[in-house]
Amino acid sequence: MAYGLTVNNDSGQVIIDSDISHFHFAGKYNSASDVAGGTLQNHTGNTDNDGGNFPYANLNSLGSTVGHIYKYNITQADISTKPPMCFIKPTSTGSSAPFAGIIRMHFESGYWKVELLQSTHTNPGPVLYVFTTLDQLTLGSDSYGLRVMDSSSAVTFDSQNRPLRIKGSGDITSPSLAHTGSLGSSWLATLDVNCTPSSMTHSASSIAIDKQIYYVPSVAHCALQYTHSASDSGIHDWNSYAWARNDIYWAFYRSSFRILSTSTLQCSYAIYYRGHLARTAADSGFVLSLSALFGNIDADVGSAGMVPYTNSSRNVGESQGVIITNSDWYA
């Protein structure tokens, strides 16, 4: 190039390039609010039949444990075109730590709204370390350091604004299925995450485990679905009876992550949304049709838009890029 600056490390990797808008530290954020993940659960229909053995079990069970969603409001000058880069500082580390991942970003009411899903509820939730380009930040006023501009005089790197220093990186692959084995039995589903987490070893082990922060996209996985239905009719104690029941359980998973050790990041899943709908009918007339109940259930779940794909697996085998840095550098 005829102008500008390029700095490489001893492996030939670009460290600074004046033509690239480098990310710089924009602040730490605690969650502004939090809420349990979504649950769509209800039972409709009557259950009282005259003498029949109506199955009352688990009419209001949920079959899985939903994750917890933390919401952050990120302040940034341009809220429409340049989403920030959010690193997660988890609430804990190790083999008992919850898994967390950022599942949604959108701009609204002057903020970049960020939603983080964690497999279990903790108080407080994870902290976000946010990075963005310099055009979104106020430049430093020091009279020393290194500032780099592109051909249009836009500042693309400034040592005063604490540029993002990547200490470790790699690719992590999510497990092939969030729940392995049977999805349920009779009237109760068992859809909790039970897979073995996948692991990635990285080179940032020199950072203390409680100082590591990571950036990795969370991807949608699948909705596992379990259904059970039954009907009966007949005569009992001189009375006619009839009943039908149809249940559908489902859980929608997103990939999420935790720091296992100073050199290992793990990937598993957290439940973003779950549901259990039960439809019943019971009376003493022989007019019930199970197929009619099937129709009702499908319509309810479908209209809620909650099951994009079922009993399948998505975004597995795809490498997800991971970046790890040190929170102490941005204290």
């Binding site: 349920g184 039995s185 679905q225 009966d232 085998g317």
Partner: protein, 259 residues
């Protein structure tokens, strides 16, 4: 109307992700009881206890290879699936317990068809209407008729009762009949002649022997709530029956379900 459902399993969705085969299977179980339309109509007309139940489940099975039908069969079986739905808990046979005598079991045509048929085939005379249930005591076969609209089994009865029973000697074919009415169907003039009648409370019904000088009164075991009997035809709760001959008690039986 019986909803026709075929038992078994079928693959409802199949997908391969990497080396993992995801197979969603729909499994259908049905009550092994099968009824002809004619029998089914009769069961309903007679209000005879029966059911026709089925269930359908969908579950996901994963394989590290393309599964054969045998692989899937093994997986669904291991998950607990059976094409025969475990039948609803059915009441056990009614048992008549008499001190000093062998206990007698009463078998229903629909609930205990094998034992019922065994006894039915022992009847030495032609039977126009199959009874609701049967038992065998010594040389006597007992036929019980419980009819929804109380219509008498015309082969043996002309008068209407709540329940009917016929005792037939298995060798000679001699017939003895008894009709049952709910509550106490005897006048005070008669009950005053019955030994120990004054101590009997909570009377459920009365058995009238049409061919013998006998009478039986059925009553709750006590006034406790646990001994309350809703219907003495069903025998959900045990109760007693005391029989008099010429005013003298000849036996007291306890009627209950076989444990």
């Amino acid at each position: 109307m019986i909803e026709e459902v075929e038992a078994g399993w079928e693959v409802s969705k199949s997908e391969v992700i990497g080396e993992t085969h995801l197979i969603t299977v729909t499994m259908t179980s049905v009550d092994p009881n099968q009824f002809t339309e004619e029998l089914h109509n009769k069961l309903h007309n007679d209000l005879t206890s029966h059911s026709h139940r089925f269930s359908v489940s969908t579950n996901l099975f994963t394989f590290d290879h393309e599964p054969t039908d045998e692989d899937i069969e093994e997986a669904v079986t291991n998950s607990g699936f059976s094409p025969d739905l475990s039948p609803s808990p059915k009441p056990s046979a009614i048992k008549a317990v008499t001190t000093g005598e062998v206990d007698i079991l009463e078998y229903s045509a629909t609930i205990h068809p094998t034992k019922y048929l065994e006894l039915f085939n022992m009847i030495p005379i032609s039977i126009e209407e199959p009874p609701t249930s049967m038992s065998l005591k010594g040389d006597w076969l007992y036929l019980y008729y419980i009819v929804a609209d109380f219509t008498p089994p015309r082969q043996f009865f002309t008068e209407e009762f709540f329940i009917y029973s016929v005792r037939i000697h298995k060798d000679t074919g001699v017939v003895r009949r008894k009709g049952y009415r709910q509550g106490l169907g005897l006048s005070e003039e008669v009950t005053s002649t019955l030994e120990g009648f004054s101590s009997i409370e909570n009377i459920l019904g009365t058995g009238f022997y049409l061919d013998e000088d006998l009478v039986t009164i059925y009553y709750m075991k006590s006034s406790d709530e646990k001994d309350y009997v809703e219907s003495f035809a069903v025998v959900d709760t045990p109760y007693y029956g005391t029989t008099w001959e010429d005013g003298n008690i000849i036996r007291t039986r306890e009627y209950k379900r076989n444990e």
